[in-house]
């Protein structure tokens, strides 16, 4: 009825001799211990499941989600169309078209006529945020991954600005 204790096989032993070499009593005892453990899990309240459509996880600080553009104190787009973000982008997903700034905008020469981010190409690395000299672009904590067409995932300047308005100061911190 079993050898009564478990022993590691030595080199000379065949495969046959290292089957569960425990006594049936030990097998029962260990099974009972395992059953007691799972029963404790069974009656414990709470689970790690998040009921997604109704609940969602709030992103941790430093999470890099979709981008947004910021406005300055006068409500104008902060971006000066310097192309630093586009140059820093490893995925080449930022398209900027610069236009001459209106004469009353004395603090800059250019502004973005067109500013598009293709979120399907984006790898969410946050390099654009780090590269920006005027702190105009940032990554937020939201992660809307659902879209019904590819076009929807190309965010233009105005959409990015609106997103920025909605996020307010919830700006991710890129380490």
């Amino acid at each position: 009825m079993g050898s009564g204790k478990y022993s590691m096989p030595s080199d000379g032993e065949t495969r046959d001799s290292r089957w569960i070499a425990v006594s049936p009593v030990a097998l029962l005892v260990e099974s009972a211990k395992a059953l007691a453990h799972t029963f404790r899990r069974l009656v414990r309240r709470g689970s790690f499941t998040v009921q997604y459509p109704e609940e969602s996880l709030s992103p941790k600080k430093g999470y890099r989600g979709e981008h947004f553009l910021k406005r300055d104190s006068k409500g104008r787009v902060k971006c000066v169309a310097c192309f630093m973000c586009a140059a820093a982008c490893p995925a080449k997903c930022i398209t900027i078209e610069a236009g001459k700034a209106p004469p009353e905008w004395t603090d800059r020469e250019k502004y973005p006529v067109r500013f598009e981010i293709d979120l399907l190409r984006c790898i969410y690395c946050g390099m654009c945020e780090e590269a920006c000299p005027v702190d105009a672009i940032a990554l937020s904590g939201t992660f809307p991954i659902v879209a019904e067409s590819r076009k929807e995932k190309v965010y233009d300047r105005d959409k990015l600005l609106v997103l920025g308005d909605n996020f307010g100061d919830k700006i991710s911190v890129v380490p």
Partner: protein, 360 residues
Amino acid sequence: MPLDLIGKLAVILIVFGGPMALMPMLVFLERKVCAFIQDRIGPNRVGLLGPDGLDEAILGKSLLGRRLLGGFLQPMADGIKLLFKEDIIPENAKPVPYVFAPVFAMVPPLLALAVIPFAAPVRLFGAEIPIHVSDPGIGVLFVLAVLALSPFGTVMGGWGSGSKYPLLGSLRAVAQVVSYGVCMGLALLAILMSAGTLRISEIVAAQSGGIGDWLVWSQPVAFLLFLACAFAENNRLPFDMPEGEPDLVGGYHTEYSSMKFSMFFLGEYVAMIAASAVMVTLFLGGWSFPGIKSDGSLLMSALSFAVFWAKVLVLLFLYIWVRWTLPRFRFDQIMRLGWAVMIPIGLINLAVTAVFVTAR
């Protein structure tokens, strides 16, 4: 006599309909227990209670919470889904065994229930109606024979599928069932020796004196052996080698789809119910419980019926609990456990029982 006939038909309906009604609940229980053991929530979308259920529609809030009963109708949804799936018969399959295998998986365990007394006999309109379909003098042998038939579904399915994984799975099933059938017989023999009869109603009557009279106390080793063998015969973990996913894809039901698959699936649960019912009857006093008298009244009969199913549910819970606790054995370990450990223990138990019975 028509009254007898009607009573018998009603009993047959209860005996075969009861397990059928229990099965969806059992599937739900299995999924919930599994989920809770794994710190999950489990099915919680399809049901009368829960997020979009009646309680929310009427009261505006979830009554019991979706955690406990939210997905109560999930097995129904699964069943409807399976019903409408395409029924595929593989090109290489042998049609006759392939088609009849699911039937064989389902029918033998139901037959085993035919000889189980479900409740105390009831006296209606002057006629005594026993609540079992049949009470043959060879009851225990019948149970053993019928339980040994159930793996034929597995074997036919594996052979008829014309594919190597099901075949390997069914080969394992044969080896396993042959090994554990011997041990199951030894455990039953010990019971027969101490009860002194093969008639199941007499075995129940012998245990009806109180909890102390249950055979599980005088035959604990036989009970454990029978429990382990029942797990093995039903292909439940930790003995579910015939359908071990890592090495056999799906095992014997790899090639099955739609309703045929669900019959295999349900057959497993019927077999669990049948094995639990047999264990309750032989070891746990059947429908008897302190305070319940067999006086022929409807109330006592109903109470004993409830007690019987409560005991069965406890064992079914044990099945599920064990499944989500213990890992699967390796195949050679199963064989070793069967032949080198359990059969010797069964023989020793039998010898000891013989000595006690003779000395009595």
